[in-house]
Every structure is written in structure tokens, then in C-alpha cells.
Amino acid sequence: EESGSMALNLTINSNNPPLGALLTAEHVKDTVQVSVEEGKDNSLHISDSVQFSDTNSISRYLARVAPALGLYGANMMEQTEVDHWLEFSARRLCDQPDLTLALGDLDKALSLRTFLVGHALTLADLSVWAALKDQSSWPSQSKAFPHVRRWFFFLNSQVPFSSVGSKYASKKP
């Protein structure tokens, strides 16, 4: 792997931890070493001129330095679906007062699928799971969306979802 010897530093604001990025870091940790430290803002430092501060960019970068894991999908069409779900999680799930429409779309997409894209775990699952985990209103709504519920709790029970969830999600004010 090109990235075998690289060590990256992810700084997080513990009042607003980038769950999706932390989860991606956990998934790639056997390929890319990422140390996490607390600071003022969320940021992944790459070089003097390049750093990424939003959770989707950090996740995209980590998925790309560990290509063998396939977190960005297996082909161009799956990549496009992953891009769709990254935007969906950032724009339609995060900080939205009413999730009903978005959860309806998500439920439809998951009705015949184990994972959101293709036949394996991708950034789509990580980012949408993280966005839902951040929503205090989600567990009480889960009865109305059985496919999302099945998918969410299936992931929720697995490492590293369970460890990242208990370590960071509970820290939110």
C-alpha cells in the first residue's frame, strides 16, 4: 500500500465530533494510522496547503488512501451512489428539524438491500449511520421505518460502530 507508513492527525472538537469521519478512521486503521486529538475545530491535516475540515471530505480522503477496503464503491456507478448518500447525510439528515421525508426515501432505498451501495460496507453506510446516530429524535421514529431500523441496528451492534458510538455520540451536548 502506498500509504503504509503514513501517520495522519485528526483534530476534533469534542463538542461537535465528526462521527462519520471518526468511524471511517476506525475502519481504515489497519491500513492508515490516524491519531485523534482534541482541539478547537475538526480538521485532518494533510500538508501545509491542504487540510480538510468537513466530515465528508475527511471520510473521502481516508477512503481513498485505503482503496483496498472498497469504502468508495467498486466502480464509477457505485462511487456516484456513495456521493449521493454523502450529500444526503449532510444536507437532509444533519441539523434537520423534520426527518420524515428523508427517512421515507431512505426506507425505500433499503427495502431490498443489506448495505446502501453494492454488496458491502461503504462510506454511504458510515455517513448515513453517523448522521442518524447524531439525531436524538431517530430512535423514537424507528418503528415507522422498518428497513432503516433493521439496517441501523444491524450496524449499531457491530464494532467499530458500537465503540465509536459509545465513545463520541454521547459527548454531544
Binding site: 494533510i46 480538510f52 468537513d54 480522503y61 462511487q79 456516484t80 451512489e81 450529500e87 444536507r91
Partner: protein
């Protein structure tokens, strides 16, 4: 017409039907980046382009009906084309693309459709940092430049200025999707004139490439 790229390698084997890219877009927000990418696709592939108006929309200005160019003389012979590009003006809250619907979910958002179309033209940078920088600028263009508050826009203009102080294009030495997205979102919200000298120079360089004609036609 001369095809320069192998679509089978990019999209999987051709099963004999036309690969049709269907885009539902709201006429209140014409997708300038997609029109620019469409005209670039037409330089690389034989594209059968069609514009429709959905019944949810009552009237559409003539420049939106002709935005994909004149109707092709051979349009009856679908097998002569490599790609279909079907634009439907429709009252949708968010732009969406349907392609290969049996394998792919509908794709929402102009940014994601732009990424898809661009990959049909050129591969993404192989360096993970540069590729992610391109994606990060595309997000910034659509979320902060096109949709953001005045304060967010001002912050993006400062970031554009400092990125363009480091290289001729936003992601270094190569023109990329980042430049297309930022140019189009900047021109859409009319902040072209209120920019620093190196941003002005970049706007000129973009225009010199001649790719932005389809976008400018709609802004007049």
C-alpha cells in the same frame, strides 16, 4: 464525431440499448455545470440530446428548451449514438439523475451528477489529496457559493483568492471539475465582479478555454 473514451470500461458492458442519462431539473435553477459538461461530452461522444417539459411546469423560457443545442438529424436512429442525455424540466425540489435504474439509486444534487458526468470525460486525479480537494471545492461551490448566506459567500471568495495564489487552477496545475463548479456557481449568483485580482485572472483563464458558452447563454 469521434469517440475518444471507452464507455464499456467506465460503465460496464453495453447491452445493446442506449445508455440514457435522464436528468430532472427545476427551470427556476438551471444546472449550468451540467450544461457545460454536456457540451464537453458532445465533443467526446456521439450524444443523443433531448429536452422535455414535464406537466408539473407550466411554461419554460425558449433558451431553456434549446439549451442542449439543435435537434439532431439522426435522432430516429438511437443505435448510432453512444450516450443519451435527456433533460426534463420538472418541478423538483432537488435536481435528480436516473441512470441504469436497475443497478443505481436515483442520484440527487447537481454536485453529484456533475461528478458523474466529469468522470465520463476524464479520470479523477490519482493523488487522494488532490481528488478530495476537487470534491471539497465542488461541495463548497454548491453549498456555500450557490446556496449560502452573504457571509459564507464572502468566506468562499477569500478562500478562492488564497487557493489561486498557489496555482493557476483551484486544485493546482490542472483545470478540474472544481474550476467548472466554482465558475458556474459564481456566475449564477452574480458575484463575478466583486472579486480579488487573482480571482479575476482565473475567471479570464476559465473563459479563454471556451467551455462556458452554454452557461453564459443562459445568464444573458
Amino acid at each position: 464525431f469521434k469517440a475518444t473514451k471507452n464507455l464499456d470500461a467506465l460503465l460496464g458492458k453495453d447491452l445493446g440499448t442506449l445508455r440514457d442519462i435522464v436528468i430532472n431539473a427545476n427551470p427556476a435553477q438551471p444546472p449550468l455545470t451540467l450544461l457545460v459538461l454536456h457540451s464537453l461530452l458532445c465533443q467526446h461522444y456521439r450524444v443523443l440530446s433531448t429536452v422535455h417539459v414535464h406537466s408539473s411546469v407550466s411554461s419554460v423560457p425558449p433558451q431553456l428548451l434549446s439549451c442542449l443545442g439543435p435537434k439532431h438529424a439522426d435522432s430516429y436512429a438511437r443505435h448510432m449514438f453512444q450516450l443519451g442525455f435527456t433533460l426534463i424540466w420538472k418541478n423538483v425540489p432537488k435536481l435528480e439523475m436516473k441512470f441504469s435504474v436497475r443497478n443505481m439509486c436515483p442520484i440527487e444534487g447537481e454536485a453529484n451528477v456533475a461528478r458523474f458526468l466529469f468522470k465520463l470525460l476524464a479520470p479523477y486525479p490519482s493523488d487522494p489529496a488532490v481528488a478530495t480537494l476537487v470534491d471539497s471545492w465542488v461541495d463548497t461551490a454548491f453549498y456555500q457559493l450557490a446556496d449560502g448566506s452573504a457571509k459564507e459567500r464572502a468566506a468562499v471568495l477569500r478562500a478562492l483568492g488564497s487557493a489561486l495564489g498557489r496555482g493557476p487552477w483551484l486544485c493546482g496545475t490542472e483545470f478540474s471539475l472544481a474550476d467548472i463548479a466554482c465558475y458556474c456557481c459564481l456566475s449564477q449568483n452574480g458575484s463575478m465582479s466583486a472579486t480579488a485580482a487573482n480571482v479575476q485572472r482565473w475567471i479570464k483563464s476559465c473563459e479563454n478555454l471556451g467551455h462556458f458558452g452554454p452557461a453564459k447563454l443562459l445568464l444573458k
